[in-house]
Symmetry: C2
Subunit: 294 residues, 2 copies
């Protein structure tokens, strides 16, 4: 197996290759003055199984098109099998038709992944795992819950209460709690379908005097996480930490969350960010190692 | 047939529908704070043949992803047949492997068009028509040469000399010359494969005292066109006009061309621009009308 670190995930790709002890195929990449991406593979892929590491956080569309071009080029240059490692999969939250006529964009992305020659997808904590069932290529969804929880444990927070801002992350929280051991629970969130406005219900959880870690898959504009931090602080939590897999951190997300009383914000290197970073490299390398062995 | 004016070509789409006298399907479109596009078709497409009008000039990647999502949504909502009208097709200039390992990006785009449910492509003056032969869907390449030449004729330039900055547009120039009638010819251009630097050879053409119109498919950063204007002025042309189908006009392209002595720059509405605009609507409507009739 060779690793192709895509333009959006060069460092993560190189870390994965290092753990696995396999070769990387460097990608020469530039943007033409008009904005088109130029892509060139700098070494051979003919006859190889390759894993392209290319996350698709902002700018999502450019990162997606680069992934499609890379995969198709690898196949065109003779690669035997192409695995796409896409820790953050763009458009995954557009997974339902809430209003008539709405595009279910993640279904389109699934079709494009296949058409560009990708044989298998590996992603991390996709918003709803069941969207992958409709993909026409095998797709594996890894969880960074243990990785994030271990980070907090290593910082002395082994008895922290594991929580989430809504019911969408119950499994994630239970997984994190197995590492942390300080109990778990979650708040309740409602979203207005037209305005997109979010209301977090002040469901009472027994967190008085405890350290609380709030886990979510994505921090986007930070509103949901900031609300949750505020609620836990009001319910008497000692220290509150914010953790997520995909720290998009749009606009002043960081400031919002810290101003509401969070001690620290932790995310992974699935996307570039301005928070404390725990690398996904060991998690992804472990999964790829299974494919190398057999 | 119903016309779906995509977010990048709303006005052009509406003009085409007006000429044809057919209904439009409005597209509700917004960007989420993280940069993802949201797409909703505001009226029914079930059982219909639809033509999505969505050009893919800058930002190319976003316009492409919107096109894929729109086409797939139309099919998912029951459209019988989807025609994509993409006057400017992004990545069409990346059509050859100049250096080992280079991606032939337009081939990837062809695969993605098919995968998103598009049954037929209509484009305008694609850089090299032969790239369409490799597409797995039927593709029609229209020429705006007559349309642009007619504009100049209507302005009193009926005996202007039709020319091009290189040998790539010979057919275009001959077509324009049929409308104009003042003779034709072209310069010679060389591009360094590594640096991308362009050198235009000062091939002598008999333009002394004549009005010259330089036609090209694309004006990108304007270097090629500006060089050509300069050469024709030096060879004694009376007035020199710059015309193109796709006026990308990156950076100070307009200023460069005007400073070298062009009287006017004319382009089509294939992409938004800061030059004189001739609409493609009649050309595209004529082509779609053939499909409505039979």
């Amino acid at each position: 197996m060779k690793i192709i670190p895509g333009p959006s995930s060069t460092e993560l790709g190189r870390k994965i290759a290092e753990i696995l002890g396999v070769e990387t195929v460097s990608v020469a990449h530039k943007k033409f003055p008009d904005g088109e991406s130029y892509i060139r593979l700098e070494s051979e892929v003919a006859g190889e199984e390759v894993a392209i590491v290319q996350s698709t956080g902002p700018p999502q569309d450019t990162n997606l098109i680069q992934l499609f071009i890379l995969a198709d080029a690898a196949k065109d240059l003779g690669a035997k099998r192409v695995i796409a490692v896409v820790p953050y999969l763009a458009y995954a939250r557009q997974d339902k038709r809430f209003l008539p006529g709405e595009a279910i964009s993640i279904q389109t992305i699934g079709k494009l992944l296949k058409a560009s020659g990708i044989d298998e997808l590996i992603t991390v904590n996709i918003h709803q795992e069941k969207v992958l069932e409709k993909f026409e290529i095998p797709a594996k969804n890894l969880s960074a819950a243990g990785l994030l929880a271990s980070y907090f444990k290593s910082k002395g927070l082994e008895s922290a209460f594991a929580s989430a801002p809504d019911e969408g992350r119950t499994e994630f929280v239970m997984e994190a709690s197995k590492v942390l051991g300080g109990g778990y629970g979650w708040l309740h969130k409602e979203r207005d379908l037209y305005t997109g406005e979010i209301r977090t219900e002040e469901r009472t959880l027994d967190v008085s005097g405890k350290d609380v870690i709030i886990f979510d898959d994505i921090i986007s504009t930070g509103g949901t996480m900031a609300n949750a931090v505020k609620i836990f602080k009001e319910q008497g939590a000692r220290r509150v930490f914010a953790a997520c897999v995909h720290p998009l951190m749009i606009g002043n997300a960081k400031e919002k969350i810290l101003q509401n009383g969070a001690e620290e914000i932790v995310g992974t290197d699935s996307v570039p960010s301005n928070v404390t970073v725990v690398s996904l490299a060991p998690l992804i390398a472990e999964e790829l190692a299974r494919r190398i062995k057999g």
